[in-house]
Symmetry: C2
Subunit: 198 residues, 2 copies
DNA sequence: ACTCAAACGGACTGACGGTCCGTTTCTTGT
DNA sequence: ACAAGAAACGGACCGTCAGTCCGTTTGAGT
C-alpha cells in the first residue's frame, strides 16, 4: 500500500470516528468526512467502497482491542464458564455504552448487533457454546442471541436515554438477566439498582 | 374533512402499506407512493407531513385492531396476571412476524419498539405493572423492556432469517424467556423446539 | 349558481451517495 | 538520478429522493 494511501486511510478513519462521536450516527455525510479529513470525496469512496464500508471500517478499527480481549475471555479455560459469560456480557455492555453512536451507526448499516456481524459470528458461537456448557438441554443458540439482543445499541439507548433508566440500573438489569439465563432462574433479576463491581 | 381529502388519505395509506409489504421498509419513495395511489406528491406531504409521518400513520391504521385487543388483554382482570403476560407476548410476537417489513420501517423511523412508542407507552406501563404483580421486588420496568426488546422487528428478522432459526423455534424461545422472567427461573427456556399451542 | 377556503399536483430545490476521468504522486528498474 | 508506469487523487458531475411552492382545481355552504 502506498504511503499516501495509508496516510489518507488513517486520516479518514480518525475523522469519521470523530464526526460520528460528535454528531451522531446520521450527523455526517461522506463529503463532510472527506473535507474534514483533507482529502477528496473520490478518495473516501475508492478506499471504503461506500458509506456502509466506511462505518464498518471505523468500527473494525475502533473495536479491535476490545474484540481481541473478549475473544480471549471467552476462551480462557481456567475461568468457570458462567463467570466468563457474565464478564463477557458486562464488558460488551460497557463497550457499547462507551461507543453508542458508533455502534448505532453500525447497526443501521448492517442491521446486526456488534457481536453478531459476519466477521465475528465466531463470538456468538463461542458464547452459545459456553451457555450450552452451563445449561445443557437448553436452546443455547437462542439464548445467546437473546442476551446479545439486550446489548444492541438502539435498545440500550432507548432504555438509558428515552426511558430514563440510568446506565447503572440497565447494567445491573442486563447482568441479572444473564445470570438468570445461566442459572435457569432469575432470582437476581432487577433485585437492586446498585451496580455490581463487574 | 373534505370528501376528496378522505378518499386520498385512504388510498395513500393502503398503497403505502402495500408497497412496504411488497418491497420492504426501504423499497419505496414518496413519489412511488403518490404515483401508485394516483395522487400528486404534494398531497402525500400535505396529509402526512413527511416520510416518518406516513409510516407512522400506516402503522397506526394497520395495528389498530391489534392494539385494542392487546390493551383489553392486559386489563382482563379475570385472567391470572402471568397468563396475561404470556398471551400478550405471544400475540405481539405473531403480530410483529406477520408485519415484519412494516414494523421494521416503524423502528427505523422512530427507533422504538412497536409497543413502546409515544402513543402506547401505556402498553409498557401496563405490562410492567403485571410483571410487578407476579414478581414483586424485581425491577419490573426493566424486565418489561427486556421482554419487549426481544420482540423488536430487527431482532426477530435477524434470528429468523439471517440466523436461520425458524419462526417456531424463536417463538418458543421468546415465550420460554417470558415464562422464565415471570417465574424467576428459566427451566423451560429453549427446552424444546416445539411450538407451544399458545 | 357563486364564492372561497381547502385541497391538489407537479415543477423546482437542495442535499447526498456514488461515479468518472484528467491530473498528480509514489515506486521501481535502470 | 531519472524515466515510466501504476496507483492514488480530487472534485466536477449524475441520478435519486425528501421536502417546498404556488398556480390551478374542487367541494361545501349560501
Amino acid at each position: 500500500m502506498r504511503k499516501d494511501a495509508e496516510r489518507n486511510r488513517a486520516a479518514i478513519l480518525a475523522t469519521a470516528a470523530r464526526l460520528i462521536a460528535e454528531h451522531g450516527p446520521d450527523g455526517f455525510s461522506m463529503e463532510d468526512v472527506a473535507a474534514a479529513a483533507g482529502v477528496g470525496k473520490g478518495t473516501v469512496f475508492r478506499r471504503f467502497g461506500d458509506r456502509d464500508g466506511l462505518v464498518r471500517a471505523v468500527v473494525d478499527e475502533t473495536s479491535q482491542s476490545w474484540r481481541a480481549e473478549s475473544a480471549a475471555l471467552l476462551e480462557a479455560d481456567d475461568v468457570p464458564a458462567d463467570e466468563r459469560v457474565i464478564t463477557f456480557v458486562a464488558t460488551l455492555f460497557d463497550h457499547v455504552i462507551a461507543a453508542l453512536p458508533l455502534v448505532t451507526a453500525l447497526e443501521r448499516v448492517s442491521s446486526r448487533s456488534i457481536a453478531c456481524d459476519s466477521n465475528s459470528d465466531l463470538t456468538h458461537h463461542r458464547l452459545a457454546a459456553l451457555i450450552a456448557q452451563v445449561r445443557p438441554g437448553a436452546d443455547a443458540e437462542f439464548l445467546a442471541h437473546a442476551l446479545l439482543a439486550q446489548l444492541r445499541a438502539d435498545v440500550l439507548r432507548h432504555l438509558v436515554h428515552q426511558c430514563g433508566l440510568g446506565v447503572p440500573r440497565v447494567r445491573a438489569g442486563v447482568i441479572s438477566l444473564a445470570r438468570g439465563v445461566l442459572a435457569g432462574d432469575l432470582e437476581h433479576a432487577g433485585g437492586s439498582a446498585t451496580m455490581p463491581r463487574l
